[in-house]
């Protein structure tokens, strides 16, 4: 378990972390999710010992490591841009941590081969990092971090430099790897889809604070505030109620307290159909419909429809400030 207590960090005038506390459960895959500049990377680097907190403490598995150098923390750190040792082969990269621990050569070879197999780089031991693709390099970096059997694995935007397709593959792969290796993992990302799809625990950060911690469903369905709601997914505003656009249904005739609205645009995005509307008072709203729903309504721009809020009441928020505008 990683326990961060009341950690603050400033860089000159900039407050990166303001009295942040966080618990990362043993064996979990926790994501630190937030926009850039929210302090998530700084928090990760403080846990890894690459930065030191101005105040507060960091405890890893019961040991206070607040002032301990990274060499002695028993961590594995993976960087966004791979941080490969360019002049070493894949084998030597992965074996680096073991080699400087004076592990016997046979033991290193054995462990490296085992790890390369796990990360799917079995035949690549003799290659150099420059001969690998980005995704392969990152898998090598992961194997390198795992080689020293770290107590915790820290990943700083590990898939941020990869293209969308590879990113999605590696996400899946990391999820499976975590199920296999089960090392406590903390992953920094600004991509809410990434966090929702692989983490079992997410801490949402904004502006040097942790806004909410919880499981993916909990955060999506019960956001603590409009920032969390807006960061985890699309938000539509009807009067002063914030609601997920898929929790808006469109009716072809008035019913209950449904509101009248005019369709301004219909976009077909594959499975999903995005309908932009304008309420009677001129407020724009958008709704997400499935293909089937949209087909039944036969919508086109100019149509008049009635708009009703469906879905879980707890998933809605009453607009409290104007922060949503910044993320919408």
């Amino acid at each position: 378990m990683i326990t961060v207590t009341n950690v603050s960090k400033r860089f000159g005038d900039f407050t990166a972390l303001d009295d942040v506390s966080l618990e990362v459960p043993d064996g979990s895959l926790t994501a630190l999710l937030g926009p850039s500049g929210s302090g998530k990377s700084t928090l990760l680097r403080i846990i890894g010992g690459l930065e030191f907190a101005d105040s507060g403490s960091v405890v890893i598995h019961g040991e206070d490591v607040t002032g301990v150098v990274p060499q002695k923390r028993g961590i594995g750190f993976v960087f966004q841009h791979y941080a490969a040792f360019k002049h070493m082969t894949v084998h030597d990269n992965v074996g680096f941590g073991l080699k400087i621990r004076k592990t016997p050569k046979e033991r290193i070879d054995e462990r490296v081969n085992e790890l390369l197999k796990i990360v799917g780089l079995g035949g690549f031991a003799k290659r150099y990092p420059s001969q690998l693709s980005g995704g392969q390099r990152q898998r090598m970096a992961l194997a390198r971090a795992l080689a020293v059997e770290p107590r915790v694995l820290l990943l700083d935007e590990p898939f941020g430099a990869l293209d969308a397709k590879v990113r999605a593959e590696l996400r899946e792969w990391l999820r499976r790897l975590h199920e296999e290796v089960h090392v406590t993992t903390l992953l920094v990302t600004h991509d809410q889809e990434e966090a929702l799809s692989i983490a079992d625990n997410i801490a949402v950060m904004d502006n040097a604070h942790i806004e909410q911690v919880g499981g993916p469903r909990e955060l999506y369905d019960r956001p603590a505030n409009s920032f969390v709601m807006g960061f985890l997914g699309p938000v539509a505003q009807v009067d002063d109620t914030l609601v997920r656009p898929h929790d808006i249904s469109l009716l072809s005739r008035p019913e209950g307290d449904a509101r009248e609205a005019q369709v301004t645009r219909v976009s077909h995005l594959g499975f999903e159909v995005r309908v932009e509307l304008q309420l009677g008072d001129g407020q724009p709203v958008f709704a997400q419909l499935t293909r089937t729903e949209a087909a039944q309504l036969e919508l086109s721009a100019g149509d008049i429809v009635w708009l009703a809020l469906t879905g879980d009441r707890d998933a809605r928020l009453v607009s409290e400030d104007d922060r949503l505008d910044a993320v919408a």
Binding site: L50, A84, F85, K86, F96, V148
Partner: protein, 275 residues
């Protein structure tokens, strides 16, 4: 020669608007190179072989000539080595540390290179010469020669290592630290390998410069035959005593040593690049 020190830029396919340089450009380049470099080299080679190969050998194996050549080569190699260590250190300080007056220090690095070499000699003479204000008398000793050569070759390694050091991946260092590597281990295993080509290039340039150095050594070195007389001084003396063939022979020997070293470094750097 200077291109040796600069790490090769990534291959870029560049399409100029007018196409290739054309035959005139090529002709001018060839002509200029010939006038400035190739013809004089050919002339001195011819001169050195005036007495045939035997004459050439006699000229460079004369005791004073041989001593001067050996001394020059040995001291130049030593100076290149000193430069590798101190130059890396200075480059490190300039890239990694922040202190007041850093830009001034950075500018001073080039001073020994920009200074007229005879001025360098006088500068050193006034501090370490017979009337040394600090009581260190090095005039006409081998340390004086080493000092003079180290002085004029100071910038080479610094300037070749500096840009490479700036490009070194800091995250790779942090990764090494997270894997348990101490600062020294990280330097030796992660940073130093990245600096090898630049170090070799810088050392090669320093060596090539030191081997032919004249001005900075001439006053403080004393020019004592078979003691502190370097090859360039020996050559000058041969000219003064009207033995141009002997001077040319020793010159060609110097040239050959210089070429050999530069080619060796080039070959080695290339091999490293491939690896």
């Amino acid at each position: 020669m200077a291109s040796l020190a600069v790490p090769k830029p990534p291959a870029r396919t560049r399409r100029s608007l007018g196409g290739g340089v054309g035959p005139i450009g090529l002709g001018v380049a060839t002509l200029w190179l010939s006038l400035i470099v190739l013809l004089p080299l050919a002339a001195v080679l011819t001169k050195s072989l005036e007495g045939g190969l035997g004459g050439f050998w006699d000229a460079i194996s004369a005791p004073s000539a041989r001593y001067a050549l050996l001394l020059t080569t040995a001291i130049s190699a030593l100076v290149a080595l000193i430069n590798v260590v101190t130059g890396t250190l200075i480059a490190w300080v300039l890239v990694r540390d922040d202190f007041r007056g850093k830009s001034l220090v950075n500018a001073i690095i080039d001073l020994p290179f920009a200074l007229p070499t005879i001025v360098a000699s006088i500068v050193l003479l006034s501090l370490y010469g017979p009337r040394s204000p600090v009581g260190i008398h090095l005039y006409a000793t081998k340390p004086a020669v080493i000092l003079a050569l180290a002085f004029v070759t100071l910038p080479f390694v610094v300037r070749s290592v500096q840009p490479v050091l700036m490009e070194v991946d800091r995250e790779a260092e942090q990764a090494a630290a997270s894997l348990g590597a101490s600062g020294w281990t990280t330097f030796r295993r992660i940073i130093l390998p990245a600096l090898y080509p630049a170090l070799l290039g810088g050392a090669g340039l320093a060596f090539a410069r030191a081997i032919g150095e004249f001005g900075s050594v001439v006053l403080i070195g004393g020019g004592i035959p078979r003691d502190t007389e370097v090859a360039s001084q020996y050559i000058a003396k041969q000219i003064e005593t009207d033995r141009p063939a002997s001077a040319a022979a020793v010159s060609v020997a110097l040239l050959l040593i210089s070429f050999a070293v530069l080619f060796a470094i080039r070959w080695f750097t290339k091999r490293k690049d491939v690896g």
